[in-house]
């Protein structure tokens, strides 16, 4: 008799019949054999360790062959639209196949914020296990970085950045116009190793400011963030004007007043520098920021933003 079983991963397991297996093979006929294997195992055992292989295998099947190489050595920050050329209609095809294979239902609304391969994997895992969905990856353009960071040009070494619960990534292109390159070195501009470390530290600051610390309702006060220590710093590659640094940091420990990260810099596929530990100290704002009530001058129209007007009233 057919019965549902709850596994300890939180997945409700339905019996996997021979007919289900035939349908699964048919549904995944254009995916790799490994994708089918992972899907069959998941359907039989409910083991969520198979989910990344299934989701990646399904995404791969919809990526044009000439772009599939990108997926092979991709990290979770590979962007679905910009890097893989997947449009919203293809995303829908991916969702329909994922729904079919994992026997789940996904709403259109939930898809809007899935920007990276990592977002998609995390989303599917949470859905399958019935966990609350995490904050999706947030992309932060340079203008916004400048407006939120305590560090400002000419000492800011972040270009566009993305932040999610698992860490942060940013790019920085060495323009050659950096003031210190005139003297570092004479007629031989090389980015100082201390600046590489500084750039990773700045990305960690952005991570803290963007509220990824995980203590609900509290905001980090940017005036309280300072460098404390670093360990295991190694440089592997000389970086010069024209190089684009790919910076990434991942939190290792986050507990007020200390935040420890591991950091890495790549130029293309080449490793440029790693830091096993960078530790910052930080503090929360004394009280949760409240909107400061503003007294509107009489002649100023106040109904421009209905939502705000309602709050003020």
């Amino acid at each position: 008799m057919a019965q549902s079983v709850n596994t300890h991963s939180g997945v409700t397991l339905k019996p996997f019949t021979a007919e289900d297996d035939t349908n699964l093979r048919e549904a995944l006929k254009r995916c790799s054999a490994a994708t089918y294997e992972a899907a069959a195992q998941f359907r039989k055992t409910g083991n969520t360790e198979h989910l990344p292989a299934i989701v990646l295998g399904i995404i791969e099947r919809y990526v044009e062959p000439d772009l599939r190489a990108k997926l092979k050595d991709a990290d979770d920050d590979l962007r679905v639209i910009e890097d893989l050329g997947i449009d919203s209609l293809t995303m829908m095809e991916i969702v329909i196949l994922v729904e079919d294979v994992l026997q789940m239902t996904i709403n259109n609304e939930e898809l809007r914020h899935l920007r990276t391969v990592g977002d998609v994997k995390t989303f599917i895992e949470c859905k399958v296990r019935g966990l609350p969905l995490p904050k999706p990856t947030k992309f932060i353009p340079i203008e916004q970085i400048v407006s939120v960071m305590p560090i400002q040009p000419p000492f800011l070494f972040l270009g566009e950045a993305s932040v999610n619960a698992h860490g942060a990534n940013a790019k920085y292109k060495i323009s050659g116009q950096e003031f210190f390159l005139q003297g570092h070195f004479k007629d031989n501009p090389v980015l100082p190793a201390s600046i590489m470390l500084e750039a990773l530290g700045q990305l960690a600051v952005l991570f803290l400011i963007e509220g990824q610390v995980g203590e609900a309702g509290k905001t980090v006060d940017h005036r309280t963030i300072f460098f404390t220590s670093c360990e295991g710093v190694r440089c592997h590659r000389v970086c010069r004007p024209g190089d684009v640094l790919s910076l990434s940091i991942k939190p290792k420990r986050l507990k007020s007043p200390l935040a420890t990260f591991e950091g890495q810099i790549r130029v293309g596929q080449e490793k440029a520098a790693i830091a096993e530990e960078i530790t910052l100290t930080f503090g929360f704002a004394e009280e949760v920021a409240q909107p400061v009530p503003q007294v509107a001058p009489a002649e100023q129209p106040v109904a421009l933003n209905p939502a705000k007007s309602a709050v003020n009233a």
Partner: protein, 419 residues
């Protein structure tokens, strides 16, 4: 009114997948009929069809389809296409190349695209079945644009980045003749400089066999005589599919670009039977009026017409109606224009027919021949007095008419002139 010229053609048809082989088939009267494998079942009385060669589009999964290596179609394009969408895409590439058009020439607000097809009953049926079976949210997102009528213009306008006028036409077997007529108007009135005209059909089980219900299809088992317009023993039409594309351009564009010219589109006319939803008027009244209108607007006298490419589909009633209409037009000299139905070779392409036959006329004018009316053993006495030619004539027709008639009694006559 600006003059309008045909400057490019593309063919995926039952008698050839490029202009050279189509031209050979027309001259040598080589037909495209076979005993169509999907019809060879006891419960299907129809046995013959005129399928497209070198393409396999008989599965509902576009990624299984096979087409000649010269056409490379990416998955993201293919997923929104019906079988005849693929034919149209390939014929479009041929026409663009034939007319020597660059992307800058055709992707601009002065270049439009008019198309006609009945959609894809094959894919529509599959998608509806899937919707009922697995639910509305698990249907392929592009199922609609691949299968409904209009799929040809949706696809080609976006894929070729067309910026000018675009729409589809739906008058059944007169559809792409209507598309040609209205495309001519766009250029003649100065609204567009260049138009693509496309007729296309799947030509598979789902698009052909529904006509068996109305007893319109030939039940002949011998492919070489199944389609025989004007023959006394004709017993219905033979279904076909494919796609044909024509490029037509204004005289200014022809002077500027100096492309090769197949012939001039001199004008067109249309009229309706106002008689029956599916049966043509017994005296061909609507078609006669359409031809009269076409000649009047083109400023051509009946006695100047050299060749009529007839609509004649090989149905008992339809062919007689057309013969009567032609007799009523050519009263002074009924034996003057050569008349043939190239559907004896191709079968009847429904929405494809008008564009297909217009492009055949273009080849005849450019290359200097008049295709014969094949497969006639005993001419129907009702056609006596008309010059229905049974062999291809090695001469250039100077003034050509091409007739099309569709359900609801819609009739179109296109007029061409050699240059």
């Amino acid at each position: 009114m600006r003059k309008v010229y045909i400057t490019g053609v593309g063919f995926i048809t039952s008698i050839g997948n490029d202009a050279v082989s189509v031209s050979e088939s027309l001259r040598e009267l080589r037909h495209g009929m076979v005993q169509y494998p999907p019809f060879q079942k006891p419960d299907v009385p129809v046995k013959v069809a005129a399928p497209i060669r070198d393409f396999q589009t008989d599965t509902t999964d576009q990624e299984d389809w096979v087409f000649p290596a010269r056409y490379n179609i990416r998955r993201e394009i293919l997923r929104g296409m019906a079988p005849h969408g693929v034919y149209a895409y390939c014929a479009m590439l041929q026409a663009v190349e034939d007319a020597k058009l660059t992307e800058a020439d055709y992707s601009n607000p002065a270049t439009g695209l008019y198309a006609a097809s009945a959609g894809s009953p094959f894919l529509l049926g599959y998608h509806l079945e899937r919707m009922r079976k697995v639910g509305v949210m698990r249907c392929p997102p592009l199922g609609i644009v691949a299968s409904i009528s209009g799929t040809v213009n949706f696809n080609l306008v976006s894929q070729f980045k067309i910026k000018g006028a675009s729409t589809g036409f739906s008058s059944a077997c007169a559809s792409s003749a209507h598309a040609m007529g209205f495309a001519y108007d766009e250029i003649a009135l100065g609204r567009q400089k260049r138009m693509f005209v496309i007729g296309a059909e799947d030509g598979n089980v789902e698009s052909i066999l529904p006509f068996a219900g109305m007893r319109a299809l030939s039940l002949q088992t011998d492919p070489s005589i199944a389609s025989r317009p004007f023959d006394v023993a004709r017993d219905g039409f033979v279904g076909t599919g494919g796609a044909v594309v024509l490029v037509i351009e204004s005289e200014e564009e022809v002077a500027r670009r100096r492309p090769k010219v197949y012939g001039e589109v001199a004008g067109w006319g249309q009229a309706s039977d106002g008689h029956n939803v599916a049966i043509s008027h017994p005296d061909g009244e609507g078609l006669r009026m359409a031809i009269e209108n076409a000649l009047k607007y083109s400023d051509i006298a009946p006695e100047d017409v050299d060749y009529v490419n007839a609509h004649a589909t090989s149905t008992p009633i339809g062919d007689i109606s057309e013969a009567k209409a032609l007799k009523a037009i050519f009263t002074e000299s009924p034996s003057r224009p050569a008349i043939s139905s190239t559907k004896a070779l191709t079968g009847h392409g429904l929405s494809l027919a008008g564009a297909q036959e217009a492009a055949f006329c273009a080849l005849a004018m450019k290359e200097g021949f008049i295709p014969g009316s094949a497969h006639i053993t005993n001419l129907d006495p009702a056609c006596a007095g008309l010059n229905i030619i049974r062999a291809t004539l090695p001469q250039r027709p100077n003034v050509v008419l091409s007739n099309s008639s569709g359900f609801g009694g819609a009739n179109v006559c296109l007029v061409f002139k050699s240059v």
